[in-house]
């Protein structure tokens, strides 16, 4: 079970604002042992870099930087907390569930935790790409493995 009421929009909104105002794991590092992916193709504005260190198939560290709207910033911040210390397979499963949520399909609430605040982002179809930008970025990271 999630630790918060996912039907309460006030709480969901607070999660987004919290991550937007205080994004987690947001920093740029200069370390070639990290895999770097630049996501800037979805729209004019998205411009997000993701840096991931994977050791023995485990996501040991994940940082990101760049510029984005509230949705892409908060979503990237939440994603970075979700996948840390997870195996690549576990992270792929999280990604899969997140996509399912955006498509209004069945998904595992516990796996997505705070990322559930984007459950209704598809009310603004043009902004789905903002919500999933870092998940698509993470998939690109895995392609580079």
């Amino acid at each position: 079970m999630s630790t918060f009421d996912i039907t309460n929009p006030v709480i969901l909104r607070e999660i987004i604002m919290d991550h937007y105002s205080n994004p987690r794991n947001k920093k740029e590092i200069d370390d070639p042992s990290f895999i770097l992916v630049h996501m800037d193709s979805a729209s004019c504005i998205d411009d997000i870099y993701i840096q991931v260190k994977i050791v023995n198939n485990i996501i040991k560290k994940i940082y990101w930087h760049g510029e984005g709207c509230a949705i892409s910033t908060a979503s990237t911040s939440i994603m970075s907390e979700l996948v840390i210390n997870k195996s690549v397979e576990e992270a792929k499963n999280i990604i899969h569930n997140f996509y399912n949520m955006l498509e209004s399909k069945e998904f595992d609430h516990d796996l997505l935790d705070e990322a559930i605040c984007f459950i209704n982002v598809n009310r603004q179809p043009s902004r789905i790409t903002c919500a999933n930008i870092s998940y698509r970025g993470l998939e690109k990271v895995f392609e580079k493995l």
Binding site: R13, C69, A70, Q124
Partner: protein, 409 residues
């Protein structure tokens, strides 16, 4: 002020949107991106497909003759819209294509070491073709500095132009800040240095009378769809005196007189040499109809109308502490702003939930952040069918924009 109620009757987007599909009124404020089309333009396009569908310049039967006449009549109308001669305007697929054609048509004119002057305010379509040409020909790109208001002053152009400058290519009205450049003076300086002046008129043509004889530009590009005409059509103006410097970029049927197996080709004269293949005939007829429509209303009236609306908007936006205005000083129909602490894209999505449609981003002018110091802005852009209620809707939604996350719940 224009009688907007009356004008909106000409535009099906209003009648359909307000009655059939949406209960809320439509506040379309993204005219710098594209404009709505009046029925006369839409009907003209249909008329071609319904009544005299045939290709141009190919055949001797009467049906084809009719379309040849219509096509050249359209050229006459569009040429006179910018005060050009009929043998100085070619049709293209839009301003982007026109600017590319201009750049590539100078391929043989440009040589290693030549300089091309641009500005930081330019749309991608007036930057990237030149980057490519510069790479191919080893030319140098030089940026003319603008003043605090985005204007390329004659003095600033004089500072960067030199004997090796071959081309100066600038928008007469810029698309992010709506800055009007002093084109006539800039052309003089350019010509004094024996360089060619290319004018991107895409944002000027819909709102302001362009007179190529007065400004004396060598090349001009514009798009029909931003001036109540159809998409996929544009204009390429090349002054008679410089037509000997250009070479076509696209080859095919109807642009040549003859060719043989020894690789010898003889080309038609401009504009036909620049109109290879079957043209967007319906679109071109619609474009001419759009010029007629704008002429009937009067560009001066349209400009005055937009000015009053902008003044009205700026007055209210200035009173709001959380609004940052970037171009309140100029009188174009473009209002560029940000809401403090809210990302431009979030503002645009929120306004959209109130049926107020504006653009957010960097508006394809990716160099502008280098001078404006922000990566993205909101842009509301006005046209003849906008009225005070559109501004009121914009302002009242902006006042509530602190709740911008509402649209996701």
């Amino acid at each position: 002020m224009l009688d907007v109620k009356d004008i909106r009757k000409d535009f099906p987007m209003y009648s359909l949107h307000n009655n059939e599909y949406e209960a809320k009124p439509l506040h379309y404020l993204d005219n710098a991106a594209t404009s709505f089309k009046p029925s006369v333009v839409i009907n003209k396009i249909n008329e071609y497909y319904n009544n005299y569908s045939a290709n141009t310049k190919r055949s001797d039967y009467s049906l084809a003759y009719k379309i040849d006449q219509e096509f050249e009549e359209a050229r006459k109308i569009v040429a006179s819209f910018i005060n050009a001669n009929i043998d100085e305007v070619a049709f293209t697929s839009g301003a982007t294509m026109s600017l590319n054609e201009i750049a590539y048509s100078l391929l043989y004119e440009l040589k290693e070491g030549d300089e091309i002057i641009l500005s930081y305010n330019e749309h991608a379509s007036n930057v990237l073709p030149w980057y490519n040409i510069a790479k191919m020909k080893r030319c140098k790109i030089v940026f003319a500095p603008s003043d605090k208001k985005g204007v390329i002053t004659p003095n600033n152009l004089s500072k960067v132009i030199t004997k090796i400058t071959k081309v100066v290519s600038l928008a007469s009205v810029t698309n992010v800040l709506g800055v009007r450049q002093p084109i006539k003076e800039l052309v003089k300086i350019t010509h004094n240095n024996n360089a060619l002046f290319v004018c991107d008129g895409a944002q000027e043509a819909p709102h302001h009378k362009i007179d190529v004889k007065d400004t004396n530009v060598d090349f001009l590009a514009l798009s029909s769809h931003k001036m109540v005409g159809p998409t996929g059509v544009g204009l390429l103006y090349v002054k008679k005196e410089v037509q000997n410097k250009i070479w076509p970029f696209i080859y095919g049927g109807e642009m040549n007189s003859r060719f043989d197996s020894s690789l010898s080709v003889s080309l038609k004269e401009f504009p036909f040499s620049f109109e290879a293949g079957t043209q967007n005939i319906a679109g071109i007829l619609g474009f001419a109809e759009a010029c007629k429509y704008l002429n009937n209303i009067g560009l001066e009236e349209i400009e005055k109308h937009e000015k009053s609306l902008k003044t009205y908007a700026i007055k209210q936006l200035k009173e709001m502490k959380n609004i940052i205005l970037y171009n309140d000083f100029n009188d174009s129909g473009i209002i560029t702003f940000n809401v403090k602490d809210i990302h431009a894209q979030d503002v645009a999505t929120y306004l959209s939930s109130n049926n107020v449609f504006i653009r957010s981003g960097n508006h394809c002018a990716k160099l502008l952040p280098e001078v404006l110091n922000v990566n993205s802005t909101c842009r509301a852009s006005l046209y003849l069918y906008n009225d005070y209620s559109d501004i009121d809707a914009l302002v009242s939604s902006l006042k509530k924009s602190g709740d911008f996350l509402d649209v996701y719940f």
